[in-house]
């Protein structure tokens, strides 16, 4: 994934942005995407879990360091 330097995005956030792009942008050929709403929800739920666990991890690390 290419992200220019700048206001640094966490890798996990970039992953959400990436998924956001593949789900909502890009050409459609059939005009009828097979992916069901439930699947889309699943994609997002999964990423939220990753994000939540990353922030929990950071908190725990900060607590351990403090």
């Amino acid at each position: 994934m290419s992200v220019l330097e700048g206001p640094r995005l966490e890798e996990q956030v970039t992953l959400v942005e990436l998924v956001d792009r593949v789900l909502h942008k890009g050409v459609t050929l059939t005009g009828d995407i097979v992916l069901s709403v439930a699947d889309v929800d699943l994609v997002y739920v999964g990423l939220r879990v990753i994000l939540a666990s990353v922030s929990t991890l950071e908190r725990l690390e900060a607590e351990a360091a403090g």
């Binding site: 290419s2 700048g6 792009r21 050409v27 994609v43």
Partner: protein
């Protein structure tokens, strides 16, 4: 089942990245336009989370090597080559035009938000509307500022504008976004990219 990632031009070798469900990538040529696809057994178990990420990573890997890439939205699958062919033939002119447009370009997404632009943050309806108006004025200003670098731009969903920028200009374009953000400290200016040109495929987006 054939999963389609993108249409490309000027791709020498397929990138060494796994497709959805770990499948290998292959090319299906349509004249000078090539579809990059992978195949898996219909009905085999899939993990949409991992597959969506894999799809995006394949597209980015293609964008890094091909001279032009038009990403396909995640979820486009076809029963076999014939079904894919039938769908592509119908859109060939659109795809060719899109590939002409995006050659050697990347996309940078910029989101400009004024404070109180969300209904929750706004103290009143008037505040909210005022913020939205300011936002659209600022978006127009940003577009003007990026004109020297952008081959095209398109307003995407939300407050995002996608800019199509020639690869060598990407860093300068981002500097311009940064300068704009510095001059408007009250705005939230968030940019992502460079991405494969997702927003410039023409037709249904």
């Amino acid at each position: 089942m054939i999963h389609v990632y993108a249409f490309v031009r000027g791709l020498d070798d397929l990138p060494d990245v796994p497709g959805v469900s770990g499948a290998g990538l292959s090319k299906v040529p349509f004249g000078d336009v090539v579809a990059v696809v992978s195949t898996r057994d219909a009905g085999s178990a899939t993990d949409p989370r991992a597959d969506a990420v894999a799809h995006g990573l394949v597209v980015e890997a293609l964008a890094a090597t091909a001279t032009a890439v038009v990403p396909v939205r995640f979820g486009e699958t076809f029963e076999d080559d014939d079904a894919l062919r039938a769908a592509v033939v119908e859109r060939e002119a659109q795809l060719r035009a899109a590939l002409d447009l995006v050659g050697n370009c990347v996309e940078i997404g910029v989101r400009v938000q004024a404070p109180a632009a969300t209904a929750v943050a706004a103290a009143s309806g008037t505040d909210y509307l005022r913020a939205r108006l300011a936002e659209s004025a600022h978006s127009a200003e940003l577009e003007e500022r990026l004109k020297p670098y952008a081959r095209a731009s398109v307003k995407a969903q939300g407050a995002e504008t996608a800019f199509l920028v020639e690869r060598p200009e990407a860093a300068a374009a981002v500097d311009a976004v940064r300068a704009f953000a510095d001059e408007h400290p009250h705005l939230s200016v968030r940019w992502t990219g460079p991405w494969a040109p997702y927003s410039f495929g023409g037709g249904a987006q």
